[in-house]
Symmetry: C2
Subunit: 157 residues, 2 copies
DNA sequence: GTCGCTGCAAAGTCTTTGCAGAGAG
DNA sequence: CTCTCTGCAAAGACTTTGCAGCGAC
């Protein structure tokens, strides 16, 4: 087996941990823990997809039809979570800006240009090489992202 | 010297070549060669920057104040050039969508989160590794992009 | 001359903001 | 009770589109 891995099922951060981190974050900034914020975090956690604000909003409306959460609240909460490094946003070409949980758990993406599916991977050689390049060019690296576009296994059949 | 290079001054494709490619492209699609299209291509070529549609439009207005080219024409021409693979568009986080000439001349980007400057580089090891990863995951690679975010040499001083 | 191109302004899309009432602490 | 949060609708930012006249071929 190669050193490439796509398995993120054994998540380092479980939901309870995530939720208490979120509560701590809110408390330390004198912000309030509301049902809307909880539902947004929970829905992000439950979905394995990379979500746009709109698709997240749709998901929430399906799962919690009584709550009537506004799209503006979704945008506001995603910004809050991103500023706090609890979620990461990425641009996927024509698919636009998408959000995913967990900035800590770094990985890169393969994006199928046919079906739009996204596969995650980590490659240590690339990670190391990126560090080295940044160093050689006098750059203090903070973050990086890599996307490979192509046709996925399923779509090739 | 490492195998990293940031030198793209000796461009493979010179302007005359570029222009005649563009003319051929237009001709083969029964499209017309207009002064607006020429000026947009030329301004893109003359600028070493990665340009947003708006910054390109501003540049053109400075250089050709009499022409009064509309922003809509800039958008339309950039789409045309991108569809024809004569320019490439990239998302640079908060800096938004930017365009650069020359899809053939593949390279990746270092983006300074302080001053916004962009440094280009190519690394063969990463290129090879990307191919390998795509293969191992049953993916037919079409394209890829990589961005490293951090603080550039100048801004660290 | 024909038919595509352009500038303009209007219309779309996506995202942010102001506000008054609701609700967490 | 206070002060933040929310939904709503309006406003913004960015991009696309319809149209009538212009201009390349």
């Amino acid at each position: 087996m190669s050193d490439i891995t796509t398995n993120f099922d054994d998540r380092i951060v479980e939901y309870e941990q995530l939720l208490s981190d979120f509560k701590a974050l809110l408390k330390s900034n004198s912000l309030k823990f509301t049902i809307q914020r909880e539902v947004i975090l929970e829905t992000l956690y439950d979905s394995d997809e990379h979500l746009t604000p709109e698709s997240l909003h749709n998901l929430i409306q399906e799962k919690f039809p009584d709550l009537n959460i506004g799209i503006a609240t979704v945008y506001r909460t995603l910004s809050l979570l991103e500023d706090s490094n609890m979620v990461t946003s990425l641009y996927f070409g024509a698919q636009g800006k998408k959000y995913e949980l967990g900035a800590k758990n770094h990985h890169d993406h393969l994006i199928c240009t046919n079906c739009g599916c996204i596969t995650e991977f980590v490659d240590e050689q690339i990670e190391e090489r990126q560090d080295k390049i940044a160093n050689e060019l006098g750059f203090k690296m903070q973050d990086h992202s890599m996307q490979i576009y192509g046709i996925c296994k399923n779509c090739r059949n």
